[in-house]
């Protein structure tokens, strides 16, 4: 009787060992399966994003020269180049920061507002990209969103001001993979153009340029009357602005 009990216990432990081995095997295989489903960039699923035409910036009283010092990704997205995960994925061919830089530079250059280097620039732009690509939509269409914040800085006075820009675009969803890729590309390009337009034609940039170049010696020389010379003497202005930026 005791021998039979020992046999049963042995068989039970063998079964347990088999089940646990099966579970272990399944666990070890799962990440491999997950990795196989993870989309990989290929020439077929990679899209090229660029502005169809440069965005004409607004007219400034005295056209300043801008220089893009830095473009920083603040999206917190671990895969910024992957814009769509479904259907084998859709990838960008360059980093969003590079695309944003090229789009803004292209538009500034077309309007002759781009400085060739940092020392010759009236204003330096530091761009923080908060969102680039698709955002959650209704599921019936693609919702493209490009959002960035630009720190406009006067290198001479060290004053700076923040400008925000946002672009959105909505494009129809598609069934065929080729059409999905085409629509996603058009959608992100639309959102990028909208964001660049929002930045370069926005009232925020106008305000920033006006207030930052107020104390600029070159700007005061260009402006009629001696109003700027008086303002230049008021150094308090710059300090206040600097502390605001530091707080942020």
């Amino acid at each position: 009787m005791a021998k039979r009990g020992v046999m049963e216990a042995k068989m039970l432990s063998q079964r347990c060992a088999l089940v646990s081995a099966g579970v272990l095997l399944a666990c070890s295989l799962t990440p491999c399966i997950g990795r196989a489903d993870e989309p990989k960039p290929t020439p077929e699923n990679t899209i090229h994003i660029q502005l169809a035409a440069p965005v004409p910036p607004q007219k400034f009283a005295k056209a300043p020269k801008f220089f893009i010092s830095e473009v920083i990704d603040r999206s917190g997205n671990p895969q910024p180049m992957l814009v769509l995960r479904d259907r084998g994925g859709v990838f960008l061919d360059r980093q969003p920061t590079q695309i944003a830089r090229e789009a803004i530079e292209q538009s500034l250059k077309a309007a002759d507002l781009l400085a060739p280097d940092a020392p010759s620039a009236d204003l330096a732009l530091q761009i923080y990209v908060f969102h680039f690509g698709l955002a959650q939509g209704s599921g019936l269409d693609f919702f493209g969103k490009v959002e960035f914040s630009v720190m406009v800085k006067n290198p001479k006075t060290e004053e700076s001001q923040e400008v925000q820009a946002k672009g959105t675009s909505i494009a129809n969803a598609a069934v065929r993979k080729k059409n999905i890729q085409k629509n996603v590309q058009a959608n992100i390009e639309g959102a990028l153009e909208d964001a660049v337009r929002n930045l370069l034609r926005g009232a925020q940039l106008k305000e920033a340029v006006t207030s930052l170049l107020k104390n600029n010696p070159s700007a005061s020389a260009a402006s009629p009357g001696g109003e700027m010379a008086f303002l230049q003497g008021n150094g308090d202005n710059g300090k206040r602005s600097k502390s605001e930026v530091q707080e942020r």
């Binding site: 607004q58 959650q136 209704s138 919702f143 969103k145 959105t168 337009r197 929002n198 926005g202 009232a203």
Partner: protein, 169 residues
């Protein structure tokens, strides 16, 4: 005689179409702003963004405006008199009830509901061009973005109707 009949028939065929044709590009620009929320409206922050994007997309479809500009975009002084600004507020949002909707959904009971007040103003002199009140009811099974899509469509339709009446009068 025959030619007269042809002319008459052609007039009967084409005249209603021509009369019903909507005026195109009456206004130079339209700027849609992000809608504000009255206290107590519990919607995700992404909702306002999506509503803004959908509204711009729907306003472009009305063909009443040459350009739908983004929020805060500067407009040429010459175009300001012929430009419209759309501002609005979400005044009420009810989540709805799935169970009630499943039983009595046909009567609109248990539906998700959204109320919005929209103000239209002329850009140059801030003259009031009208107020649009929109009430959207959708199934609680649909997500917020679908509700935004329906709301944007309805707002654009009402804006078009209001502005068309304004231009006629």
């Amino acid at each position: 005689m025959r030619s007269l009949v042809i002319v008459l028939l052609a007039a009967l065929v084409f005249a209603p179409g021509l009369a019903a044709k909507d005026p195109e590009n009456v206004y130079k620009t339209v700027e849609a702003k992000h809608f504000t929320r009255v206290e107590g409206v519990e919607l995700s922050p992404a909702f306002t963004d999506y509503l803004y994007a959908e509204l711009r997309s729907e306003l472009a479809k009305t063909k009443l405006f040459v350009q739908v500009i983004s929020e805060g975009e500067a407009v040429e002084d010459a175009d300001a008199a012929n430009s419209v600004v759309i501002e609005g507020a979400i005044t009420e949002y009810k989540k709805g009830n799935r169970a009630t909707d499943a039983i009595l959904g046909g009567y609109g009971v248990g539906a998700r509901s959204l109320k919005l007040d929209v103000n239209l103003t002329r850009r140059s002199d801030k003259q009031d061009l009208g107020v649009v009140k929109v009430h959207v009811k959708v199934s609680p099974r649909w997500n917020e973005e679908v509700m935004a899509k329906v709301a944007a469509h309805q707002i654009a339709h009402e804006v078009k109707k209001g502005l068309k009446e304004k231009t006629k009068g």
